[in-house]
């Protein structure tokens, strides 16, 4: 009987996720330029990925993005959750506002920031110039491009992480806090010594989630910078996408890169999970 319940879901999983994933691994050992004819190349795709300098820069970009994205997201969302938690009034309002970007489609996000960050007609630079700060080319200088992309990435998801943390904060036993206050602890001390440690499991969730999101970032980045300037914001998912949608088309190579990406995400998630378990945080 349970099998009947599971069946439809599992059927779709198998047909549209598991089977294609297996097929993807299979394709990674072939070369194909049209998706219909496949030439066996063994591990050539994998070795060419590891020897390709473009891939090295893509890997660097991805690592940079993920590291900064995870750290900034975690810290900022923690700050926001803690601050909102202390807030007396309009708590719901602030929570809701921050959540707004989460609901935007990645295409719209890219469009918004393309406009705002435009070197010549964007309001950000207009404000900066008025303040005497010059007119940086956010999407034209490689380093600035990465900064812009990290910023926008964080901007989109911050509300999501904050809400999870806020829920975690709600789950903390109030009596603990009151007892500490009665013992004369300041609010800051309470936050530092009681709340934060108790929040560790939730924080770990945020780290894991943001890592996965970070590795999977593509849509809004592509709309924003197309992977430029000069490939500075080309992350691994775009690298895979380009193998299928930019000439020269290389489906096999793209699949191989996909397999590698999955293994990386899997490894990271497992690592995070194990570290968390070890520290008895879960």
């Amino acid at each position: 009987m349970p099998y009947v319940f599971i069946a439809p879901n599992m059927l779709i999983f198998l047909t549209f996720i598991i089977w294609p994933a297996i097929r993807g691994v299979y394709i990674s050992f072939f070369d194909s330029i049209d998706g219909r004819n496949f030439d066996y190349v063994g591990t050539a795709n994998y070795s060419s990925i590891f020897g390709d300098p473009t891939v090295a820069s893509v890997a660097r970009n991805t690592a940079t993005y993920v590291v900064f994205y995870v750290i900034i997201s975690t810290v900022l969302s923690l700050m926001f959750a803690l601050v909102v938690n202390e807030q007396k009034f309009a708590k719901g309002f602030f929570r809701a506002i921050l959540f707004l970007p989460v609901m935007l489609s990645p295409v719209v996000v890219g469009l918004i920031w393309n406009d705002v960050l435009d070197r010549k007609v964007g309001p950000l630079n207009a404000l900066l110039e008025a303040a005497g700060g010059g007119s940086p080319g956010w999407m034209v200088e490689p380093k600035l491009g990465m900064i812009a992309v990290i910023f926008v990435g964080v901007w989109v998801h911050l509300g999501f992480y904050s809400i999870i943390l806020l829920a975690g904060l709600q789950g903390i036993d109030k009596s603990l806090l009151e007892a500490a206050a009665m013992d004369g602890a300041t609010r800051i001390q309470i936050i530092r010594l009681i709340i934060l440690p108790l929040l560790k499991p939730t924080t770990l969730v945020i780290v894991i989630l943001s890592t996965i999101h970070g590795f999977q970032s593509f849509d809004f980045i592509y709309t924003l910078t197309g992977g430029g300037p000069l490939g500075a914001t080309t992350l691994i998912v775009q690298y895979i996408y380009d193998r299928a949608f930019q000439s020269p088309i290389q489906y096999g190579l793209g699949s191989a890169a996909g397999v590698i990406l999955f293994l990386i995400i899997f490894a990271f998630t497992a690592l995070n999970f194990l570290v968390g378990k070890k520290k008895n945080a879960l």
Partner: protein
């Protein structure tokens, strides 16, 4: 997204030939074959539907296509489903459809070389003599390399060249040129920019194909008709040409942000020209229709600058029918219909196309408006050197070669490498690409 906008066509050579022949009074046109469907075909075709995979460079092309489709439907009783695809996804979507077994019946293409083995050979349906109706050079791109049979028709010839904003030139007191070289073009553009305080002096489509025009005028070419890398022997000229253009971008006298900030995506500065932010825009005749419709200022087509060589750089679009079509004879007939003299003439007149049919070339097209502009393009077409079609000998490589050039240009503009290094890398890239052909 595949970005080879105007592909590598040998049309120029044959157009030179045929225009030259016309000039000498020798008729090279062949009578149109005048195919009409039989009664049996008409009854078989009634209410059948075919798909036309289409993209358009201008609103006029779309409108004219719709009119012609209506006429076709009336003529045959069949239905044509028009799928309008944005240019940037043209090849990727088509390849996705072919891979899915969802092929259209007829498609309008930029890169026919990719689809050689999917294309319907036309001889069966349209006869052996059909290929002769078109300019010899144009049909090379739609001739199967091994069977040597016609697998599509050259739908139009395109020619690269500069557009200028006449109002801005007049305001700056700079004379409208009747002939110039690149140095003069850049000087004039800068003068106009300074006088009118426009944002930029110059703009060019983000495309290696457009850059090849400048190469050609400086006497540099990338691949010759024997599939050889000839950039090596013309590299100093190529460096000069590259430096000329990239210097403008580096100095922000051309829209640098549009070029650098869009990564691997295509961008065209047509909106820059329409917003009167640049007095000179280097593009091609396909934009004439859009400018004619949308420009709120006086503009005209200027002759291509002449350095070592004159003329421009050819491109074109093609029609192909697909083997996978469920009604191949109907598909072939639709293709024939669109490529026939009457329809082509109409399209040329409405959308400012340059014809590829021998009969139309012989009689000439009477453009109802902007005839002077088209005359400039046609003159440049006639002067385009034969070597421009060399790269067409490697149709499957032109996309990557143009894209690599474009990417190298981006790096030069960003100051990462010099023009010299860029050309060296392009040479190496072409060698690597040519090597894949030998495998």
């Amino acid at each position: 997204m595949n970005k080879s906008l105007r592909s590598k066509l040998a049309i120029a050579a044959s157009l030179v030939l045929s225009v030259g022949l016309v000039a000498t009074g020798l008729p090279s046109a062949q009578a149109a074959s005048g195919l009409k469907p039989t009664a049996a075909q008409l009854s078989a075709w009634k209410d059948k539907e075919i798909t036309y995979y289409f993209y358009n460079d201008s609103a006029q092309e779309l409108e004219t296509t719709k009119t012609q489709i209506a006429a076709f439907e009336k003529l045959t009783g069949a239905k044509v489903k028009l799928d309008v695809i944005p240019f940037t996804s043209l090849d990727t979507q088509l390849q996705a459809r072919l891979a899915a077994g969802n092929a259209p019946d007829v498609a309008r293409l930029n890169n026919p070389g990719f689809y050689q083995n999917d294309a319907l050979p036309l001889e069966t349906y349209l006869g052996k003599k059909y290929a002769a109706e078109f300019l010899k050079g144009s049909t090379l791109q739609v001739t199967h390399p091994t069977t040597k049979k016609l697998i599509g028709t050259p739908y139009d010839l395109s020619m690269n060249g500069p557009f200028i904003n006449v109002d801005m030139f007049k305001k700056a007191g700079v004379a409208i040129p009747t002939a110039w070289n690149w140095t003069e073009l850049v000087a004039a553009a800068k003068k106009v920019q300074a006088a009118t305080k426009s944002e930029y002096a110059f703009a060019m489509d983000k495309s290696g194909h457009r850059m090849s025009t400048v190469f050609s005028q400086y006497g540099a070419f990338m691949v010759d008709k024997n599939k050889r890398n000839v950039l090596t022997s013309s590299k100093f000229r190529a460096e000069k040409a590259l430096k000329l253009i990239t210097d403008l971008y580096k100095a922000d006298q051309a829209p640098r942000d549009l070029w650098i900030g869009t990564g691997t995506k295509y961008s065209s500065p047509t909106s820059v020209f329409l917003a009167e932010q640049t007095p000179v825009m280097f593009s091609g005749n396909w934009n004439l229709a859009t400018f004619a419709k949308d420009a709120k200022f006086d503009f005209q087509v200027a002759p291509n600058p002449k350095e070592l060589n004159g003329g421009g750089w050819p491109g074109g679009k093609f029609l192909m029918a697909f083997k996978a079509s469920k009604t191949p004879d109907l598909a072939a007939y639709f293709l024939y219909f669109l490529s026939d003299a009457d329809q082509m003439e109409q399209m040329c007149q409405n959308a400012f196309w340059i014809p590829t049919r021998n009969d139309l070339v012989a009689q000439g097209i009477k453009y109802p408006t902007r005839a002077a502009d088209m005359a400039v393009f046609l003159k440049d077409t006639a002067n385009t050197p034969a070597a421009t079609y060399g790269i067409q000998s490697v149709p499957t490589l032109t996309g990557p070669i143009y894209n690599k050039l474009r990417d190298l240009m981006t790096e030069v503009m960003a100051g990462k490498i010099t023009a010299k290094q860029a050309i060296a890398q392009q040479i190496a890239f072409i060698d690597a690409q040519l090597a894949t052909l030998k495998k």
